[in-house]
């Protein structure tokens, strides 16, 4: 029996009348519509069946049905399939049962739609604001269709995010909004006892750009890939590809094989770039700038190569719905092979230097430890999960582009710490080189673009996954009627991984904060604050807003 049939039968058995309808548009996707009262039970059942929570999507269906829709997506990695759980509630009463008590990584998705669509998730353990600015007016939900994309509500004075209560006997160390170990504005309140971290609260989304809203209201289908590439400066092609795949799946477009090969080449070049960049930053975060500089010197070759292929050092602009924009000709192919050969030699030297360095072992082994069970419970992905014994790789589990034709290893270690993450990412560089060589050798001739229909069918749903260098990216698309997506939801790998950072920080040394956060290679622009708390002498000192502002030297006179 097919795994999706089995899941459907199980759900039917457990939910009874709560299950409204199912559809399976392809061999690897199952869409299940449930009553909202059955949502939590259905989500729990899917996790029980071996599902991994990916992301939640909120939709505004007020104009058409008078409802707000809530969609949860689950991956069944071992079975190469994904299940989408859909439900809706009347706009006048948009209340859902929270699934976060059962699935911790759903916490942010639910908070996101409380903020953006005005939903309420009863039973949520931490229903604080997540995305909207602290001075955003109550009752204005920006993702609802009635709210224009360029709405600018007046700024309010004297509103501040309330940090979580600090554990007794701890001091708050504010990491952010601006701090050298963060490369984007974020605020972590780290609660420390001496130098030991006892807790942490996060306030982010400070540079939320409303890209989803923009693309649902202002631009057209084929402009979105270029906006998508700008979600992230490192994994641009991942987002463009993931979006294109979702639209293609929804509209039933078959991409020519050569285009899929070229997508594979671009995605792997991007991975090479990202792994070298991260290795450099990891070196910098533990105070080893020689690793930083050498890794980035090697990375320069990859950037040169990208420019040779696409004209751009980053943000390649190669991917469109239905195919790719540029071909890879024989001269460029020779250049790629040349760079790969020199890269392989340099990375081998780098690998031996880094992996054999006892001082690096001291700074990374046992740091940021999370058990395999906790890693699965938090739905972690990418190198962070593979360093904790979980064999998860979208390229193998849910093949896309030309990965089904590629032979490669997925390095997995079970040390569960920063060291493991480092090993996994370094080893993956060699796998990427191998994939690139195969892709060039096996690349078939053929067109670069599919024949596109005049208009894409509206209101079709599709979910697509792409393995970004940091982990899996998920895009969910509902096709629209005005030559643009009706709904486009982006979930970058940092989104689930960042949610588990407080768990990884617990009982570690404050000096390890940068590398523990850094190991997930956080991309705040993809997702979008830490204060530190001191328990010595039993005195508790929480730095409040006034003190934080005084520290920031802005309003000393006023306070």
């Amino acid at each position: 029996m097919n795994v999706l049939d089995r899941i459907e039968t199980e759900l039917r058995g457990r939910l009874g009348a709560g299950l409204e309808r199912t559809e399976s548009p392809g061999p690897a996707r199952l869409f299940v519509d449930v009553e909202r009262s059955a949502l939590r039970a259905a989500a729990k059942a899917l996790i029980g069946l071996g599902g991994r929570y990916m992301v939640g999507i909120g939709t505004d269906e007020i104009a058409r049905k008078g409802t707000l829709g809530l969609i949860h997506t689950f991956a069944f990695d071992a079975d190469h399939a994904a299940v989408v759980l859909r439900t809706a509630a009347p706009a006048a009463d948009p209340v859902f049962d929270s699934i976060t008590p059962d699935i911790p990584s759903a916490g942010w998705s639910e908070r996101e739609y409380q903020d953006l669509l005005g939903m309420r998730c009863t039973g949520h353990p931490k229903p604080k604001r997540l995305i909207l600015a602290d001075d955003w007016p109550d009752g204005v939900y920006p993702l609802r269709k009635e709210v224009p994309h360029d709405l600018e509500p007046p700024a309010a004075e004297d509103v501040a995010y309330r940090l979580d209560e600090a554990p007794p006997g701890t001091t708050v160390v504010p990491i952010g909004p601006f701090h050298v170990s963060l490369h984007e504005p974020e605020h972590f309140a780290v609660y420390v006892d001496g130098e030991t971290i006892k807790g942490c609260d996060y306030r982010g989304f400070m540079t939320h750009r409303g890209i989803e809203k923009l693309c649902q209201t202002q631009v057209s289908y084929n402009e979105v890939p270029f906006v998508a590439e700008r979600i992230c400066g490192i994994c641009g092609s991942v987002h463009a590809c993931c979006y294109a795949q979702a639209v293609e799946a929804a509209a039933g477009i078959r991409v020519p094989r050569r285009a899929e090969y070229i997508r594979t080449v671009m995605l792997e070049i991007e991975r090479l770039h990202s792994h070298l960049l991260w290795l450099g930053i990891a070196g910098h975060l533990i105070g080893f700038d020689t690793v930083f500089m050498q890794a980035w010197r090697v990375r320069e070759k990859v950037m040169w190569l990208s420019e040779r292929i696409t004209g751009n050092r980053k943000t390649y602009g190669m991917i469109l719905i239905g195919g790719v924009r540029r071909d890879i000709g024989p001269e460029v192919r020779a250049d790629i092979e040349g760079v790969l050969a020199s890269l392989e030699k340099e990375v081998l030297t780098l690998k031996n230097a880094v992996i054999g360095d006892g001082a690096i072992h001291r700074r990374t082994k046992g740091v940021g430890y999370l058990s395999k069970e906790e890693t699965a419970r938090w739905s972690l992905i990418g190198p962070v999960a593979r360093a904790r014994g979980l064999r998860l790789d979208t390229r193998k589990d849910h093949p896309y582009a030309a990965y089904d034709d590629m032979t490669f290893d997925v390095p997995v270690v079970d040390s569960g710490d920063v060291w493991g993450t480092l090993v996994v990412r370094v080893l993956e560089i060699f796998e990427s080189i191998a994939i690139l060589r195969q892709a060039l050798a096996k690349m078939p001739e053929g067109p670069l673009m599919a024949d596109m229909p005049e208009a894409l069918p509206p209101l079709r749903h599709a979910v697509s996954m792409v393995e970004a260098p940091r982990g899996e990216s998920v895009h969910y698309v509902i096709t629209g009627e005005e030559n643009r997506p009706e709904r486009w939801r982006v979930r970058a790998p940092t989104y689930p991984n960042l949610q588990a950072v407080p768990a990884m920080l617990l009982d570690n040394q404050f000096a390890d904060f940068p590398i523990i956060l850094g190991q997930i290679d956080p991309c705040f622009s993809c997702t979008d604050r830490v204060a530190v708390v001191d328990a010595r002498s039993g005195a508790r000192r929480v730095l409040g807003r006034a003190e934080l502002e005084r520290m920031s030297r802005r309003e000393r006179g006023k306070e």
Partner: protein, 300 residues
């Protein structure tokens, strides 16, 4: 003549310390496949900082006092050390304990400034600095003690040169090993640049300082590094001695330069340790240094 030597000392320390810093930066850059700043860059940095407005961000006397106090204490150290194997007019009136006292006074000034700035990161940096001082300064004191025991005097000349003046003994070798490791902590370079760790605590004790105040701290740090590097060259490299003042001056400065090269190489090939890891190493150093003192007292 020995009064002139005081001025020569002060001038050489003031003017050469930034140059040595520049050399270290250049070597680090070469290890990292970078071009690196010109070797005179630290002079430009100091000039730039000295030309800026003062920002008194903490508004209390301790915060304002700390940079000049640290600078004054290191100037005093520079004035009295026996540079060029010559105990000068000032050096003859003090002993090794004064030297340790003045060097510690500089560290205490940094702590004072850090705590007075009432910044969380400065406070973390200060607590790390305090641990480092308590754990590493004894190695300095014991180095001088080994010299004093072998030279049979607490005078500066005996304390600095005594360890190797009459050839190498077992105690000299043991002390040299301990001092060589501690050197990296004395000069706050990797793997022991823990109190200032930019990426963790944003230069720690110095976070609130800018402009001329920060220039004084930077200059203080450079001169302090030079004192410790010179002490290694003077104390443990007896073959640098020529017998003449000018000759010794030149060979000791050359030795100092070589020590700086070594510091830069070690610094650029090691990641930073955590304070809990460093403390274990420091404790080991104290034990080794104690053994050296014991051996020296026993005449070995």
């Amino acid at each position: 003549m020995s009064v002139v030597a005081v001025f020569v000392n002060v001038l050489l320390f003031l003017l050469l310390a930034p140059l040595f810093e520049g050399v270290m930066r250049k070597i680090t850059a070469r290890v990292q496949s970078r071009q690196g700043p010109p070797v005179v860059q630290p002079y430009f940095d100091l000039l730039k900082l000295l030309g800026k407005d003062r920002v008194d961000s903490a508004r209390n006397w301790a915060f304002r006092l700390a940079p000049p106090a640290a600078f004054a204490s290191i100037l005093a150290v520079a004035a009295l050390v026996p540079l060029g194997s010559k105990v000068n007019a000032l050096g003859a009136r003090v002993d090794a304990i004064t030297l340790v006292y003045l060097l510690t006074l500089g560290g205490v000034s940094v702590l004072l400034g850090a705590l007075a700035s009432r910044n969380t990161f400065a406070a973390i940096g200060a607590s790390r600095e305090m641990v480092t001082m308590v754990m590493v300064e004894p190695v300095l004191a014991m180095t001088l003690l080994v010299g004093a025991a072998r030279g049979h005097s607490l005078g500066l000349g005996a304390a600095v040169f005594g360890a190797s003046a009459a050839g190498y003994g077992l105690s000299t070798a043991v002390m040299l090993a301990a001092y060589a490791v501690a050197l990296q902590a004395f000069v706050a370079k990797q793997p022991f640049d823990i109190p200032e760790a930019e990426i963790e605590v944003l230069e720690g004790p110095f976070i609130e300082y800018s402009g001329p105040d920060y220039a004084l701290f930077r200059w203080y740090m450079m001169m302090k590094q030079m004192v410790y590097a010179w002490l290694f060259a003077a104390g443990f490299l007896p073959f640098l001695r020529t017998g003449s003042y000018v000759g010794d001056l030149l060979t000791q400065l050359l030795g100092t330069l070589l020590v700086f090269v070594a510091i830069a190489l070690v610094g650029s090939t090691n990641p930073r340790l955590r304070i809990d890891q460093a403390v274990k190493i420091y404790a080991g150093l104290i034990a080794v240094a104690l053994v050296a003192v014991g051996l020296a007292v026993a005449g070995l």
